[in-house]
């Protein structure tokens, strides 16, 4: 990407004989929020650590604002980091933690004081400035870590599963707050997570990683609509991935595509009709705005999401219909 804030080109990272990243390229525009999503061991954290400067790439380049930063140590990169464990200095108060980066940069006392107060106010912790980390809740510690990373006005913000240690309710609240703050500051952000919902609800673009490579990177909408292969489709939960049956099954009117590979059918593209015989419903999950039904076919379980009013119960026989446009072929991945 031309004029990108962060450009990662052909990055390879290896720990001894183990290759963590194998030719990863990625470009982030200014102000963009990109999530790195993948199972554990996929290399997402290695990518973050290489950008931060804590691991040295075996090959490839990392450009920040167009300049190669290979020779720049972490302290010269002007990158803010927030960890899952928050990594707050336990012997310093919240305010001292936030101040650390300003002191390191030689910001004069009065200016530093004002910026610390501003950063703490930004995350809503102005009244808790004197508390030590162990006197703060997980969510509050997370805010201090965020204020500490942002007060230095970094060019890039790296978030390493920052919300994973919070309980579900607080996590959802923090997702919204974090994204609102990121938008307001316009700070380019890389967000590492293994939580699909989190990645898709927060990011402008999601990069799906597997075995040290980026399988696909796109907006959440386009990723869901067009996963590049069967693995991505299953991992992000975009739809059903099924083997194409050799012969037709009674009660199943799916317009199977021609060719080799696996068939991909989005959950909301399946029409069900009551029938005397045919595949049966094996599970029903109420989702609030809809209902998810599992239909046992000979090729596997088909998961369909219908409106909550759909008149089906477990054990019912149904006729399954999928139009040609809604069933396409995917390479296995």
């Amino acid at each position: 990407m031309r004029g990108a804030l962060l450009n990662v080109e052909g990055l390879r990272v290896a720990y001894g004989a183990v290759t963590a990243l194998d030719g990863v390229s990625l470009a982030l525009g200014s102000g963009e929020f990109v999530a790195l999503l993948g199972p554990s061991g996929c290399g997402k954290t290695s990518l973050l650590r290489a950008v931060a400067g804590f691991v040295h790439p075996a090959a490839g380049r990392i450009l920040l604002n167009g300049a190669d930063i290979a020779a720049v140590p972490p302290r010269g990169r002007n990158i803010g980091i927030v960890y899952q464990s928050y990594a707050l200095f336990p012997h310093m108060s919240a305010a001292e933690n936030v101040r650390f980066g300003l002191d390191s940069r030689g910001v004069p006392r009065a200016a530093a004081h004002a910026r610390v107060a501003e950063a703490l106010a930004m995350v809503g912790l102005e009244t808790l400035a004197a508390r030590r980390p162990h006197q703060l809740s997980g969510g509050q510690q997370q805010r201090v870590a965020l204020a500490r990373a942002l007060v230095i006005a970094p060019d890039l913000l790296l978030l390493d599963e920052p919300l994973a240690a919070l309980d579900k309710q607080l996590r959802v609240q923090m997702q919204t707050e974090l994204r609102a703050l990121q938008r307001r500051l316009g700070i380019t952000t890389v967000f590492v997570t293994h939580d699909r919902e989190e990645a898709f609800s927060m990011a402008d673009r999601v990069a799906v990683l597997r075995d040290g490579r980026i399988c696909q990177i796109d907006t959440p909408e386009r990723l869901f609509a067009g996963p590049v292969d069967a693995w991505v489709a299953e991992f992000i939960g975009a739809g059903n991935v099924l083997a194409i049956p050799a012969e037709p099954e009674p009660g199943v009117a799916i317009a199977w595509p021609a060719g080799r590979g696996l068939a991909f059918i989005p959950h909301d593209r399946i029409a069900l009709a009551p029938a005397e015989t045919g595949p049966r419903i094996t599970a029903r999950r109420f989702l609030g705005l809809g209902v998810e039904l599992h239909v046992q076919t000979r090729t596997g379980i088909l998961r369909a999401v219908l409106s909550a009013a759909a008149p089906f119960a477990i054990g019912d026989a149904v006729r399954v219909t999928v139009a040609t446009a809604d069933c396409r072929i995917l390479p296995p991945g």
Binding site: A52, R75, R77, I81, Y83, A87, F100, G101
Partner: protein, 271 residues
């Protein structure tokens, strides 16, 4: 019944630590008799001598100074060694640990004589200095020689205490400090030293208590010129035969150790 397995240990400590300790405490309260060694009756005179007489006060101050100096030297030498050990890969780590422990692998007396060979007026160090036409350094039977010898013996205690704590420091804290713009020295001074503080405290406690109560090293490396509380206690029991004063000095030394330990406990249990 739950504590029955502890019985052998209690008997052991009771017979060989508590009972002699009490006997020593009783002895320290007896008057000195030039003919009987230990006189009849009770007196606090021995403690008055041990804690008020300028000679013994000087001795106490000198011993504490020696302990503090040895603690600082081992801290200064041990911190970088512990840091290198923690940061090293597995193979280098075992090598550095052996290096750190090496003083414990040599017999105390042999080690002391080895230091005499190095440090003496006609020892290796001064021979080299003379060969290079440099002024000799006085390291023969003085406080510096005793300090060097003690620092060598106690260094493993410091390094092991530091390594134990440094191993548990979350590396992400140091990374976070680096990403915030801090250089190596700043990270060390503002973050690492604070996180290593429990190890510094425990190591210092062990080294200080070992140094002030050491006997063989001051005796051999200090010759007859250097006295610490330990060497004077030995002298009171074997040559001048003033057992009550020797016992009182021993109790003072024990008291000093207990005070330092209590201080350590107070400072670091609160954390």
């Amino acid at each position: 019944m739950r504590h029955l397995p502890l019985a052998p240990l209690l008997v052991f400590y009771g017979c060989f630590l508590l009972a002699p300790g009490l006997a020593l405490a009783v002895l320290s309260l007896r008057p000195f008799s030039p003919t009987l060694v230990v006189g009849e009756g009770w007196t606090g005179a021995n403690y008055l001598t041990a804690l008020a007489d300028p000679f013994y006060l000087g001795l106490l101050a000198g011993t504490i100074f020696l302990g503090v100096a040895v603690t600082l030297v081992t801290l200064l030498l041990g911190y970088p060694l512990a840091l290198a050990t923690v940061r090293a890969g597995p193979r280098l780590k075992s090598f550095l640990l052996v290096v750190a422990l090496s003083p414990l692998l040599i017999n105390l007396v042999v080690r002391s004589y080895a230091w005499i060979v190095l440090l003496g007026d006609h020892g290796l160090i001064n021979a080299w200095l003379r060969a290079m036409s440099l002024p000799a350094v006085p390291l023969d039977a003085n406080m510096a020689a005793v300090g060097i010898g003690l620092a060598h013996v106690t260094l493993p205690l410091m390094v092991l205490s530091l390594v134990a704590v440094m191993e548990r420091i979350d590396p992400r804290l140091l990374e976070a400090a680096a990403s915030l713009g801090a250089g190596e020295w700043r990270i060390l001074a503002r973050v690492h030293v604070h996180l290593a503080m429990p190890g510094i405290a425990t190591g210092s406690l062990l080294v200080f208590c070992t140094a002030i109560s050491a006997f063989i090293t001051p005796r051999l490396l200090g010759g007859n010129r250097i006295s610490t509380i330990s060497t004077v206690i030995y002298e009171k029991f074997t040559f001048s035969l003033n057992w009550p004063l020797g016992a009182a000095l021993a109790m003072v030394l024990l008291g000093l150790t207990l005070v330092v330990t209590a201080l350590h406990d107070r400072l670091f249990r609160a954390r």
